[in-house]
Symmetry: C2
Subunit: 232 residues, 2 copies
DNA sequence: ACCTGAACACCGTTCAAGT
DNA sequence: ACCTGAACACCGTTCAAGT
């Protein structure tokens, strides 16, 4: 609204890739994915749209760098110790929750991660922090890659979908009435075609996204333990 | 390149929402998500960009309708019977693979599904076809919604990420050399920080995406069976 | 080396005007 | 009721020109 105010306030330091990425994250968080514009961003940085291209190749690279920064921060922030010597399962839950919360706080990260994922800098980070625990759970070496990949895919995919759903709702709307609306639609479906969905509609009403996400992680871990029981 | 050729060929029937959605799917499949433009689409349909708005509210609704059409077709196409009387597990695998293949063939569906998912027409379809099998596996009624949701989230999330990876590669590039390149990068990481990722790099080299996806489904099913053993 | 800002090609969407 | 196509506001990106 008043670009002048911002324009004079900032711009003591020179432009840098890091400052650009930080500003991009700020814009993405406040204005959403559609709000990240080179014009809006350059206004934030008190410069012209062309200046950004000196430090960043294009919008895709900028989104990738912003995503990587958020994921790195989420994985670096060690969660408060719940146990003095956490089990691999507890560590995996902690990593999963850290990612869930980060994606919940920055929904655009979810879209980005499940739409590009592999190869980028982010992937080794994720693989490493979950893979070590998979190894510690006694999964045979030959299955390390498969099991870890699948686990990471669940974590990212589920977190992304949750964030997207939360996004649709918006921060102001009432979650309970929203869920109730959806439940009503489900319960009104054709009994012939949708017997299960009709029954399950009511269960959706009060559910907690975080709990459901963790239940999925636990189901995965239970599957791993069932397939490769710990040598007791 | 030669819009005239197309323009005179079509346009015997009137425009309709269905024809627009079909054309949108064709454009998305050939030109990718970025290729779907109201101008490109209207050229395909031998009409003006404004005409589409009579049948479709906006681009978001069009993408949603296209996604729903693809998912509905994937779920409707009954996979070839592998067993005369398939178990719930086999049915779930079949549904999961049908979705995996559909998303692999139409990568834009993955992005769309994991970025909007809930509430749309598509969700009840997915919930219903997997939920019935979850019920048949003996999961207690109180857990139906959680277990089914989590399973669907894995299927959609993993399929979307796989499709995105395949997309990055492109249809012409050699998959083996690409995987080899990524493996090399992983194997060159700092041994202090990335011991696991370095070891696992080689396992990624020859892996099959479909097999890995199915391994994830099986891990889930194993977890369900472990938690709620069938009353034998 | 780094920044400026006008310019280019393109996009989603609207809407007066037609049939 | 349905379609046309020009017009609007906006976007990512480029690039000659400046410092």
């Amino acid at each position: 609204m008043s670009p002048q105010a911002r324009r004079s306030a900032r711009r003591t330091e020179a432009l840098s890739r890091e400052r650009i990425v930080d500003a991009a994250i700020a814009v993405l968080d406040t204005a959403g994915e559609g709000g990240l514009t080179f014009r809006a961003l350059s206004e934030h940085l008190a410069t012209g749209p062309g200046a950004i291209y000196w430090h960043v190749a294009n919008k895709g690279e900028l989104l990738g760098a912003a995503t990587d920064a958020v994921v790195a921060a989420a994985l670096a922030a060690t969660p408060p110790r719940t146990a003095p010597d956490p089990s691999p399962q507890e560590r995996i839950r902690a990593v999963a929750l850290a990612l869930f919360d980060a994606i919940d706080a920055h929904p655009w990260v979810g879209v980005q991660l499940s739409a590009s994922a592999w190869q980028v800098t982010t992937t080794p980070r994720l693989l490493e922090s979950t893979g070590r625990q998979v190894r510690a759970m006694g999964v045979p070496r030959a299955e390390w890659f498969t099991v870890t990949s699948v686990l990471v895919q669940y974590i990212l995919g589920a977190a992304a979908q949750n964030a997207a759903n939360a996004q649709v709702l918006g921060p102001d709307a009432d979650r309970d009435t929203y869920l109730d609306d959806v439940a009503r639609v489900w319960e009104a479906l054709d009994p012939e075609d949708y017997p299960f969905t009709r029954v399950v509609g009511d269960q959706m009403r009060g559910h907690d996204d975080r709990e459901q996400f963790l239940a999925g992680v636990d189901l995965f871990l239970a599957g791993i333990t069932a397939r490769w029981p710990p040598a007791s």
